[in-house]
Amino acid sequence: MKWDWNAVSEFMPYFWDGLKVTLQILVLGSLISFVLGLVWALLMRTPTRWVRWPVGIVTEFVRDTPLLVQLFFLFYVLPEWGLTFSALTTGVFAIGLHYSTYTMQVYRAGIEAVPVGQWEAATALNLPVRRTWTAVILPQAIRRVIPALGNYVIAMLKDTPILMVITVLELMGQARLFSQEHYQFTEPITVIGVAFILISYPASLLIRALERRLVR
């Protein structure tokens, strides 16, 4: 096995470019998934089954099918319907949508974990529905779910390389580009593999610490 440090230093400019795009995807994708997930979770609590059933089926479908195929679907089918977005926009939306079906479950678990006495107290105080949610239930539920949401952010980080297939130049895309230009595969792929570990492991330690503080 030969290891070429020159290749590593030549790869580094590509690496930083890729890291920027990866983090951009991560931040935007997380925001979409946090918001959409909450929307799904709240829709699943509406009294009418004509809302709950379609939302339940669609989210289950998105959760149980590969992100890769969903990406292809959005990337190739939307233009056929006359909607053209950049690869990055499509990718961010796809990953955000995919993960919203997971965060939805987290919110649901968090909302269910709020003691029933809190609901009863809100009813006893004659709070309107909106205020019950915004002032009583959600503040308690969201506090509980922050660590679980954080874990999904790390999960999303490790799914960002998939965006490479629709030509987004994030870390993996940059590594492949470099490999093809310089015919060196070992160094770039190993470097980004190690980079993923170096980012995700401290992040998961951070979340564990957060969990100790927030969930009691």
Binding site: D64, L68, Y152, I154, A155, L157, I189, I192, G193
Partner: protein, 239 residues
């Protein structure tokens, strides 16, 4: 779509199923071996098992697949058949998530059960085989079910390496027909049907195993959901 193209899709399904079964077997073996090692009494065994888990869970499955396909042949001179390369990459990555499931379930067994085994002077291996595992395995099934679905979704990644799985066949059909809505809808539906069948299968298995130790199938879905990111293919938390 013509019958020739459907044949292509059928071949793709077959490759996906083969890959799913093989990598699920490897992942299960890894989960149990490493998961049990993480409860070992020697710290060095626990440390090495933990290191394995963190390394393979810390990196991305797609990067791992690239590594096995491109770096392994150059670095060590091992050129693997695509099916085995895919199995190795997926099995090792998803197995690392599985170790967390095994460890969690073993730790959740009532300590009095262990002590009972000690009092009866069982060897550690007998305690594991006769006392801990029969009680822990049924508790693992729902999490393993989630992991299996993630693994199914993970198999799609090998299409990036040009392996002729279901996703790859969809790309071929798209190129042949020059239109994508129909074929990708079919492919998503096929994945969904496979996932649904796997869920039913695992639920049946859970019922059977729990009946064996006199328990009703559990209802702790909410608690499990919060831990899901750590114990399935998605997520990288340390439990």
């Amino acid at each position: 779509m013509t019958s020739g193209l459907w044949e292509l899709v059928l071949k793709g399904i077959w490759t996906t199923v083969q890959l799913l079964v093989l990598s699920a077997l490897l992942a299960t073996a890894v989960s149990f071996v490493v998961g049990i090692a993480r409860t070992h009494r020697l710290w060095i065994v626990r440390f090495l098992a933990g290191l394995y888990t963190e390394v393979f869970r810390g990196t991305s499955a797609l990067v791992m697949i690239f590594w096995v396909f491109f770096v392994l042949p150059v670095a060590f001179g091992w050129q693997l058949v695509p099916l085995w390369a895919g199995t190795l990459a997926l099995g090792l990555t998803y197995g690392a998530y599985g170790t967390e499931i095994v460890r969690g379930a073993l730790n959740a067994v009532d300590p009095a059960q262990q002590e009972g085994g000690v009092a009866l002077s069982f060897t550690p291996w007998q305690r594991m085989r006769l006392i801990l595992l029969p009680q822990a395995v049924p508790e693992m099934i729902p999490s393993f079910c989630n992991l299996l679905i993630e693994l199914l979704k993970g198999t799609a990644l090998v299409s990036v390496m040009g392996m002729g799985d279901l996703t790859f066949s969809a790309n071929l059909v798209r190129l042949a027909l020059q239109q994508s809505a129909e074929i990708y809808t079919y492919i998503l539906l096929i994945y969904f049907v496979i996932a649904f069948a796997l869920t039913r299968l695992m639920r049946g298995l859970e019922k059977k195993l729990k009946a064996g130790i006199g328990k009703a199938p559990g209802n702790e879905k909410a608690a499990r959901e919060l831990k899901r990111a750590q114990t399935t293919g998605v997520g990288g938390g340390v439990a």
